[in-house]
Symmetry: C2
Subunit: 182 residues, 2 copies
Amino acid sequence: MSLRHAILVLLQDQEASGYDLAREFANSIGLVWNATHQQIYLELGKLSEQDMVRYRHVPQEGKPDKKLYSLTDAGRAELVRWLKKPAGPARIRDAFMVKVAGGALADTQLLLSELDILAKQRRERLATFEALAQRLDESGRDENVYNYLTVRRGILDQRAWLQWAEEVRRSLEHRSADSTAS
Amino acid sequence: MSLRHAILVLLQDQEASGYDLAREFANSIGLVWNATHQQIYLELGKLSEQDMVRYRHVPQEGKPDKKLYSLTDAGRAELVRWLKKPAGPARIRDAFMVKVAGGALADTQLLLSELDILAKQRRERLATFEALAQRLDESGRDENVYNYLTVRRGILDQRAWLQWAEEVRRSLEHRSADSTAS
DNA sequence: AAGTGCTGCGCAATCCGTTGTATACGCACT
DNA sequence: AGTGCGTATACAACGGATTGCGCAGCACTT
């Protein structure tokens, strides 16, 4: 259980609404930890019951009102406590990989077109991350080290995936050339 | 929900016991999809109720009896069906990354020592994967393409992580040098 | 005028996953 | 004799996560 802590980390720098957090989870942090809005609102509710966060109600014009959450001292203390204990191993769920592993039974053309779609998403993400990394690099490195490192992880991850995708493409195209030639 | 499918993929080539599967999940596939033995036994139970897999009871000497599971036609059909529909996006839970993102509040020395431990595990895994890739490459490439590609993913992933770890180390050591020098 | 999409919050049901506990035997080590 | 490890399976309880649904208003397009 540490969606809580991911939220606390995000709130550490700036106050944010549930909606803001959901967007961040879909982007930068999302590569490393993901959550849907329902989960986030639920967790924010629990956190504010436990006085780890507080919120102020912000009415808006043309948009629905929002709640801007920020850390309390107790929340910061909890975060510090959590940072001290060793993190568990990383867990992944990559359905596409499972499909490649079971590729012998799959339609190669289908796999290839799915690969294209995923590669496109990854390339877009890579571009976003690279732009972000440059911005962070230009505007003071030392203050943003931690954000910068997080983004770097995203960049290296996308690159590794894209490189792997190239290998997969070559192998699969090779195989499909074999079978269509027969 | 597709632990089911990961299991079906693994049973596609060879029959295996729950225990065997648990080991595979802890190693090769585990990088991409993880599960504990309880989860696996439970899922095998469901799968066999639904006639997706069957098992034969194998008594052993010196060891407990085991159940060797294999795919049924219905199981293979279900797998093919699943392979056709697009996979969802990959999900990750990497607590260490969250800690780095929240690094401003963390003890740098503690983060560094945790980094060491994780890097060591990754290096070991990398060695395992590289050995496995070589074996697959030597013993016929074309039959093992899918296994080979899966392992390649593991290799590229470990390398990307280790490269990132070096960047983190440099940044953190730089920071801790600053603070101890003051 | 209707449809689509974005901002924003939330409940309920169900399913997935983790953790704890249990059993059983053999082997090796202390 | 006791402890720990490896093989092998399984139940129960709890908490985390996904999916489905609902409300509400504004902006922009068709």
